[in-house]
Symmetry: C2
Subunit: 204 residues, 2 copies
């Protein structure tokens, strides 16, 4: 009996190899380089297997996105549960690969509706998780929510972090050192000196 499309055990080795290959290609050469042939070649298998496992290229992109998104949510949850959640959030959001992939997906979402919907949904969950963990904490630090709403503190931290990373990808660093110093001075004023934390594993 022929297996329905989009089958092949969710944890098959080949399936994982295809996802890894697609993610690497996307990061190194942009989403336009992610074709069934190139993904398959990089994974060391036949191109027809892409369609056996994912049905369409759209579904492949979605699977790559979801896997990475779930991993980032887990990693962020772990960070937010630490003793210094603000420092941990700042550290975890300062990840070049994730930021670059995120940009690719945003650009990809510009003309693939399924991706755009998934990215919007995930951004909401991501932000909600931060807010849920931090709004109490920030109040505990003595921040007046009418002057510094937790939503804004989180948003400003995130935007600075992402902007710095985007510029670094272009070897642009004007004002970076000083800005990092300002952010970290602020974090110290709320959460004290940064203490070492066990970094979580990277994706294989």
């Amino acid at each position: 009996m022929a297996p329905a499309r989009r089958n092949g055990a969710h944890d098959s080795e080949t399936r994982t190899a295809l996802l890894d290959a697609a993610e690497h290609l996307m990061l190194e050469e942009g989403y336009a380089a992610v074709t069934s042939r190139r993904v398959a070649a990089k994974a060391g298998v036949n191109a027809a297997l892409v369609y056996y496992y994912f049905g369409t290229m759209d579904e492949l992109f979605l699977a790559v996105f979801r896997r990475r998104a779930e991993w980032m949510l887990d990693r962020q949850a772990e960070a937010l549960a630490s003793e210094q959640p603000l420092w941990a959030l700042w550290d975890v959001s300062h990840d070049q690969a994730n930021t670059a992939l995120n940009l690719e997906f945003i650009a990809l979402g510009n003309h693939r509706k399924a991706i755009r919907v998934a990215a919007a949904d995930y951004s909401r969950r991501f932000r909600a998780q931060q807010l849920g963990a931090l709004s109490g904490v920030l109040k505990g630090y003595g921040l007046d929510p009418d002057v510094w709403p937790p939503e804004s503190v989180i948003l400003i931290l995130s935007s600075i972090s992402r902007f710095l990373l985007m510029e670094e990808a272009y070897d642009l660093d004007m004002g970076h050192e000083q800005t990092v110093a300002i952010v970290e001075r602020y974090l110290r004023s709320l959460e004290g000196e940064r203490r070492p934390r066990t970094p979580s594993d990277d994706v294989p």
Copy 2:
């Protein structure tokens, strides 16, 4: 005598129509939709003309980028020369179309070296222009450069602005209102109440 490639008067109507078509396509459907055939169809001319005017698709992308970049530099220079340069910078950087195009070019630059180089170069000029116009102004406002270096003020304003716009494209607005309020409170504290300014024209 056959004209050398990459010719055709720099201000030819057809050339401009091709640039406009390419820019619109890029904005509406992403860079992958920018093919010689589709650009030409949108401009109402034959696809071979793309190669007559630009030689390669790479050169077309570069021409679109440069035209938009020069326009943005001019527009920013005008804003920075106003009586309230910080307010003007904040307003001018809050332009959805430019931000979306910028993201497309960043993603495109991920796998087209010529674009990456041009984008990096342009970012530097853009930032240098801001810094040149504002470092004196900020000192005049009484900001201590050791606590708030102009580079950082500019960088933080820019990153917040861009992040908000990226999220708005996804109908995400958690904390936006509050963050805009914080920024504008800050701008008011330095530059007083925002006064109306003549907005510059949009590109045709």
